[in-house]
């Protein structure tokens, strides 16, 4: 039982990363119907930005500011900077291809991702950096279950971000514009909602979320390398599609599901079976539920 609870907490933490990152995919996919294959690498860039800001702030202010102020400042500034990376990807890679077949846009995203990876490798070299801890790690033990405050923080902040995003999408005018755009991205621009504002905004929100996930990831697993975005990114992409087109709730659920499958498979089987079983389950789910969890029928042609 203890063992199970222990793994449950690990799975919640691991699923939180997938969930937060896959929401970024899901939003872009829902609003613009394109795959943002650069998103995994936006997550990576976000982590590096977070690393730079965190290192800077810790050296400058750690003597006279409390740790939580630094943490909040790092998160906010990183989100702001990383969202511009998202805007850049939209403007440079996706805007010129809005009339093109969607597969071409996906290829462009893939290539931008490769450029990001290589760029980081050129600027920073192949040495692995380690993310500075933004708060002191405290381990708790409740009834034989060990967990650290970092784990709790990851789970709580992820949930908070998802709720905040849900509020933004459901209650504000910007969110309404996004929902309208995802309903029909051809007609809505004719109604006075500019796609050239909504599209970068969507990318920016996704990138901001990914960068927070990056900071949290850096707290949990402090080693940074330029290819860290690939594996997490593709899995988050799978989760986003599994959740159903444009469904934030579905993407988050699928992210947690993926985290649970991976952790619990590793609990029962040797850990090398993780990908095999996780993807087999996904293949089965999509075979019997071809539109994902919450995907709807839609008029626009779903063709690449």
């Amino acid at each position: 039982m203890d063992y199970f609870l222990q793994n449950l907490i690990n799975a919640l933490q691991w699923g939180s990363f997938y969930a937060v990152i896959s929401i970024g995919y899901s939003m872009v996919y829902g609003v613009l119907m394109v795959f943002n294959f650069a998103h995994g690498d936006i997550f990576m860039i976000g982590t590096y930005i977070g690393f730079a800001i965190a290192t800077l702030f810790i050296t400058l202010f750690s003597s006279f500011l409390p740790a939580w102020v630094i943490f909040v400042a790092v998160v906010v500034i990183t989100m702001f900077l990383a969202s511009w990376v998202g805007v850049f990807v939209e403007v440079a890679g996706y805007r010129p291809l809005r009339q093109a077949p969607r597969a071409s846009a996906a290829i462009t995203g893939l290539m931008i991702g490769i450029i990001f990876e290589t760029g980081i490798l050129i600027f920073l070299g192949a040495k692995r950096l380690s993310f500075p801890p933004l708060m002191e790690s405290v381990a708790y033990n409740i009834g034989g279950v060990y967990f650290t405050n970092v784990k709790v923080m990851v789970i709580v902040i992820s949930l908070f971000l998802m709720l905040a995003l849900n509020f933004l999408i459901q209650k504000t005018k910007w969110g309404m514009a996004m929902r309208a755009m995802s309903y029909d991205f051809l007609a809505v621009p004719l109604m006075g909602v500019s796609i050239n504002i909504i599209a970068p905004l969507t990318f920016a929100i996704g990138a901001g979320l990914a960068s927070v996930a990056g900071i949290l990831y850096g707290q949990a697993y402090p080693i940074l390398d330029p290819y860290m975005g690939i594996l997490v990114g593709w899995k988050a992409f799978v989760a986003a599609i599994l959740g159903g087109r444009g469904s934030i709730k579905g993407a988050a659920m699928a992210g947690y599901l993926l985290g649970f499958i991976e952790i619990f498979v590793a609990m029962v089987f040797p850990s090398t079976f993780r990908d095999l079983i996780a993807y087999s389950i996904i293949l089965l789910i999509l075979t019997y539920r071809p539109r994902g969890f919450f995907g709807m029928e839609h008029s626009a042609k779903l063709r690449l």
Binding site: Q99, S104, T118, L302
Partner: protein
């Protein structure tokens, strides 16, 4: 511009046969004089392998001698020979026009192979580059069947390739090689090269069978969700191979016999182009296009959509399996990591760069991306900035790829150019 127009006028009457003769002359010049006279005189350490691109990027001081080398060895012989044999080659081309098309194609291809063999014979690096390029051509054509002609976004090609590579490697290691993985050889190794085509075909069939895992869900799932299914398939194959210890697991397999020589791969490439071309221009191929453009309408026009999808996937996967088998026997080492996301990005880059729905486009895409990748090798990391940038520009200005929805007429290509 004036010079270019004059140049074009001068050489507009040279038939394909004449150009091939010109290239033959250039290659012969390089073969007999290249090292002893030309490159030594120009101060080059050895014959520049890929027209000197590697040397230029490593050592810019060499640029004048490289340009001189290229002009002396390639450009001058080609221009002189094509110009002075133009009346003869036109007569030959006219004579070839009267023969059946297969005969003249074989003659042209034989000449082309001779040129390539001489050119590649200079050193092993050229041979490796040409082999890998031709494997990429097979691979790109095979993915074009699914992504271009049938119109699905399949991400599973590295998986198909892995199945073909592993099945054929297991068979050759089991049958013809004494190694520590499978023990002594079951058949005399002299039979190896003769049975190699059958082994490749078995690998191709294994890949085709595995493609049913993607093809059957495609009855109900289209577009994006199928892309995820195929991506999941790719990861499943990679992960499954990693967990099979009797074929090396994550460490991979090595010491495949050296059966994939240059003529073997060339024959397979030509065979692929020929068969796939016949397939996509057949009624079945038209059915693929019909399903791509409108599934419901084609269903009502008596196209069996399910059968079409299965055939498209199995056909594409078959050739991907063949390419995988050849790839394994070219590099003589494979591991599951070879067939992962990076390989997928490369394959997708090739097919979308070259052009969808076109075999010529696939060839152009495969050749350009592989040769560019080799030529820019001295730039190391910057290579991975330049190639993606080129691809982004191609996507922005030609969203369907360089040569899409077009084919070249072979008969027109070989025609004599008498005025």
């Amino acid at each position: 511009m004036e010079i270019a127009r004059k140049f074009k006028n001068q050489f507009s009457n040279v038939p394909m046969f004449g150009w091939l003769l010109g290239f033959l002359a250039a290659v012969l010049v390089e073969f007999f004089l290249g090292y002893d006279y030309i490159s030594l005189v120009l101060g080059l350490p050895k014959i520049p392998v890929l027209f000197g691109t590697l040397v230029i990027l490593k050592n810019p001081i060499m640029i004048p001698s490289i340009i001189a080398y290229d002009i002396i060895v390639y450009i001058i012989p080609i221009l002189i020979v094509t110009k002075f044999t133009v009346s003869m080659t036109n007569k030959i081309a006219t004579a070839l026009e009267k023969t059946p098309i297969w005969l003249s194609t074989i003659i042209h291809l034989a000449l082309f192979y001779g040129i390539m063999h001489l050119w590649a014979g200079i050193n092993d690096y050229r041979i490796l580059v040409i082999k890998l390029t031709m494997v990429s051509i097979i691979l790109t054509i095979s993915i074009n069947v699914i992504n271009g002609y049938q119109g699905e976004f399949s991400c599973s090609h590295p998986g198909f390739m892995a199945v073909g590579a592993y099945v054929s490697s297991i068979l050759t290691l089991l049958l013809f090689v004494n190694d520590k993985m499978f023990g002594t050889a079951l058949l005399p190794s002299a039979l190896g090269p003769w049975l190699f085509p059958f082994i490749l075909i078995i690998g191709g069939f294994a890949a085709a069978l595995s493609s049913l895992l993607v093809a059957i869900p495609s009855f109900r799932t289209r577009g994006d969700y199928l892309a995820i299914i195929s991506l999941a398939f790719m990861f499943i194959v990679k992960s499954a191979i990693e967990n099979m210890d009797f074929i090396g697991g994550a460490r991979g397999m090595s010491s495949q016999p050296d059966y994939a020589s240059l003529p073997v791969i060339f024959c397979w490439t030509i065979l692929t182009i020929w068969i796939v071309h016949n397939f996509v221009t057949s009624i079945m191929g038209k059915a693929l296009n019909a399903v791509r453009d409108d599934e419901a309408a084609s269903e009502s026009m008596t196209v069996k959509t399910k059968k079409t999808k299965i055939i498209a996937f199995m056909f594409g996967a078959f050739w991907a399996g063949i390419a995988g088998g050849l790839f394994a026997h070219v590099l003589r080492f494979i591991n599951p990591g070879t067939f992962s996301i990076q390989r997928l990005a490369e394959i997708l880059a090739m097919v979308y760069f070259g052009g969808l729905n076109s075999i010529v486009g696939s060839i152009v895409g495969a050749v350009s991306i592989s040769v560019l990748g080799e030529a820019l090798r001295p730039l190391e990391l910057f290579k991975w900035i330049i190639i993606p940038l080129i691809l982004i520009f191609v996507m922005i200005y030609r969203p369907y790829g360089l040569i899409s929805f077009k084919e070249i007429n072979v008969k027109k290509l070989f025609r004599s150019k008498n005025k």
